[in-house]
């Protein structure tokens, strides 16, 4: 009977411990982060992009990356996707006869693929060694190879498929766009925006870029307006051009709490490879769960205390078994 009662006590205590540990209330709810006030970013306007890929070449050069070949002759840098050696790429949407630019049916469109510099990046939350960090001022999501352990959790976690690993090297690094932060000290800014001939990729403060994006989508398609080039707030390089047939959606305004790189398109964003993301970031969900369970190690220590107390009473069996054995050995 005693044994049964002890067992039931154990069941209750252990069960309570497991239940508190596993289904604790979200005591440490972590809100989705938003963009820092001075966040830097890009505005990519697909209706202005002519697919010249000058930005792809400039990115290669700025980041000192080797060419990647996908044609037989190995003459030109022709990456088919971003990789550990290609941080920026212009991809093409094609449909039917491909007659009309920026038409979803029988048309084609371009889309830039590069780091979105999320307000609440999954890669930064995932990285166990702070090799992925978000600058508190500029909001640039930076990578530090000297800290990186190469676990590639960032590669798996990123909703945009941006951090990529160099699988062909015994000392492979993660490769991703860092908004050319290494070029700022020389008075430069993001190479892709610097070279863009049409202003399809525009560099600047995210808040300015968001205002510019909203200005554009409020215009009447077919009217003419002035489009800045290079850098918002830099020397005037603007030109006059017709207004595109914009979707009423600034991609990156709210996705996962917002991104610092914003996008405009005439073709459905999912069709051009931009995932449909909720306003709540997965980093916030993950960290809320994690810190509710382990915040300050409060719960683990409480459970450890309870289990130590129980184990201390029950561990006599072990002593007895050892005792038996000593007797057996001596006999």
């Amino acid at each position: 009977m005693d044994s049964r009662r002890d067992f039931l006590k154990g069941v209750l205590a252990g069960g309570a411990a497991i239940t508190t540990a596993a289904v604790a209330p979200p005591a440490c709810a972590r809100e989705t982060h938003s963009r820092p006030a001075e966040a830097l970013g890009l505005l990519y306007d697909a209706t202005l992009c002519i697919g010249c890929k000058a930005c792809v070449a400039a990115c290669k050069e700025a980041n000192n990356n080797p060419p990647e070949f996908s044609t037989q002759d190995h003459l030109w840098d022709t990456p088919l996707d971003t990789s550990g050696y290609t941080f920026n790429l212009i991809k093409m949407y094609r449909n039917g006869t491909m007659e009309k630019k920026d038409a979803e049916v029988n048309g084609f469109a371009f889309m830039k693929t590069s780091c979105m510099h999320c307000a609440d990046p999954s890669c930064v939350s995932a990285c166990p060694v702070s090799a992925m960090t978000k600058d508190p001022v500029t909001g640039i999501v930076a990578y530090n190879a000297d800290a990186c352990v190469g676990c590639r959790y960032c590669v798996v976690a990123c909703p945009f498929g941006i951090p990529k690993y160099q699988y062909d090297s015994p000392a492979g690094k993660i490769g991703k766009c860092e908004l050319c932060r290494h070029r700022y000290k020389d008075g430069h800014y993001s190479a892709c925006a610097e070279v863009c001939p049409t202003g399809a990729t525009l560099y600047g403060k995210s808040s300015d870029l968001l205002a510019e994006a909203k200005r554009r989508i409020a215009l009447k398609p077919g009217d003419t307006t002035r489009y800045p080039r290079g850098k918002i707030g830099g020397p005037d390089q603007s030109y006059e051009a017709p207004v595109g047939n914009y979707l009423q959606h600034v991609y990156g305004e709210t996705e996962y709490g917002g991104t610092q790189v914003l996008k405009l398109s005439a073709v459905n964003f999912e069709k051009v490879g931009m995932p449909n993301l909720p306003p709540k970031s997965s980093a916030a969900t993950s960290e809320t769960l994690q810190h509710s369970l382990y915040g300050g190690l409060l719960m683990p220590i409480a459970v450890l205390g309870a289990l130590s107390f129980i184990a201390r009473r029950n561990v006599h069996d072990e002593d007895d078994a050892a005792g038996n054995e000593t007797q057996e050995k001596s006999s």
């Binding site: 060694v129 798996v156 945009f160 498929g161 810190h291 289990l307 002593d319 038996n324």
Partner: protein
């Protein structure tokens, strides 16, 4: 309560050179040569992992599944020391040994996959470590747990070495390490599931849920019992020993109880989230979901009654079903149910060398188990088996 007489653990003895150890040796040699290629030429030279599936079987099998299959020690300790079921004491050492090996290998195996492994210590270094990262918690917990298990298991070596005083001193504080040895796996086995959360919608809703820590924790406990069933049957068959039916029968009943709780949580969560529809789509993911859950339901049919639970073949099959279910749950979450948002051009199937490394890791485990049970007091002495 503490008057139960257990057969003292004794070494099995016998030769270490036989067909099984030889095969293990060859498999380990193959693994080493593949790893040489991997460390000289990079991950791409040996594996098929890519940017769409950056985690292959070296992570999902060797580390995640490997550690889950090593939960026997944790599950039995929970039973013996927390629920005070002293009669299961003879199962503690063999289960702990398997856990010790499983975890040490899973912890070591992560180095094969780490692209910049020489920086590994950064995880524990305060200026680098990121407590927001689920992987940080898993890595720290697993490392500490491996140390704790070596301490828990050290009485076996102390016995062998005749250091009885040291053993006595250790026994006084052993309860703390036993408690730690239960809290730590609870923490990281649940967190292994939480690792999916940051991947967001890239993981199918059948496996992406805020309840994932509880789901992984419960299955880790169940797998622990499943592995004990499996290993007891294999050890009994290969060492021609009596099978511990008097223990396995009631233990498997407890396992069914936890399994019932798990199934309620698993399907309750799917229904509450309205994700059940995914299971009825004509997709590979839906099929994988059903195979996984049939494995978890099968033990109720295999060992649902006392008569069936006295049948070693049925216990063995139930153990295998549980292990399969646990393997599939993890494989489904991290590989089969995972799809990169950015396109469907990615695919992954392990390369032959990749598979041979996983096989080699298994061989290390089997070889280690054979050597230790033959040379160290782990398995209960057969002739002293009390007749219950």
């Amino acid at each position: 309560m503490s008057q139960q007489q257990h057969a003292a653990p004794t070494p099995i003895g016998g030769s270490l050179m036989n067909a099984a150890t030889l095969v293990c040796g060859v498999l380990i040699a193959i693994m080493m040569s593949i790893l040489l290629v991997r460390f000289v030429f990079g991950l791409g030279a040996a594996t098929n992992v890519n940017d769409g599936f950056s985690w292959g079987i070296w992570v999902v099998f060797d580390v995640m599944i490997g550690s889950a299959l090593a939960c026997g020690g944790f599950s039995v300790a929970l039973l013996v020391y927390i629920f005070n079921k002293g009669e299961y004491h003879p199962l503690v050492r063999p289960a702990l040994l398997a856990s010790l090996f499983g975890y040490t290998l899973a912890g070591g195996g992560i180095f094969f996959d780490l692209g910049r492994w020489w920086n590994f210590w950064h995880i524990f270094w305060p200026s680098y470590s990121n407590p927001n990262s689920v992987m940080f918690e898993v890595a720290v917990c697993v490392t500490v747990y491996i140390l704790v298990m070596w301490i828990e298991f050290s009485p076996v070596f102390l016995e062998k070495l005749g250091l009885r005083d040291t053993k006595k001193k250790l026994n006084k504080v052993l309860f703390f390490f036993i408690a730690l040895g239960i809290v730590l796996p609870m923490m990281h086995q649940s967190s292994l599931g939480t690792m999916l959360v940051v991947m967001g919608g890239q993981v199918n809703p059948l496996w992406q849920t805020p309840a994932v820590p509880l789901i992984y924790l419960l299955t880790a406990i169940i797998i622990g019992y499943g592995v004990v069933l499996f290993e007891s049957c294999v050890a009994a068959a290969s060492y021609r020993r009596k099978i511990e039916l008097n223990l396995l029968n009631p233990m498997s009943k407890i396992m069914l109880g936890v399994l019932g709780v798990y199934l309620v949580v698993r399907f309750g969560d799917l229904i509450i989230r309205g994700a059940m529809g995914e299971a009825f789509k004509p997709s590979v993911m839906a099929l994988a979901f059903w195979v996984e859950n049939i494995c978890f339901i099968a033990p109720f049919f295999l060992i649902g009654n006392v008569v069936a639970r006295r049948n070693p073949a049925r216990l063995f099959l139930a153990g295998i079903a549980i292990m399969m279910g646990g393997i599939l749950l993890r494989l489904n979450g991290f590989l089969i149910g995972y799809e990169h948002y950015t396109g469907h051009g990615w695919s992954y199937f392990p390369s032959f060398p990749e598979v041979m490394v996983t096989v080699g890791m298994f061989a290390v485990e089997v070889l280690g188990y054979i050597i230790i049970t033959r040379r160290f007091p782990v398995l209960p002495r057969d002739d002293a088996q009390p007749a219950y």
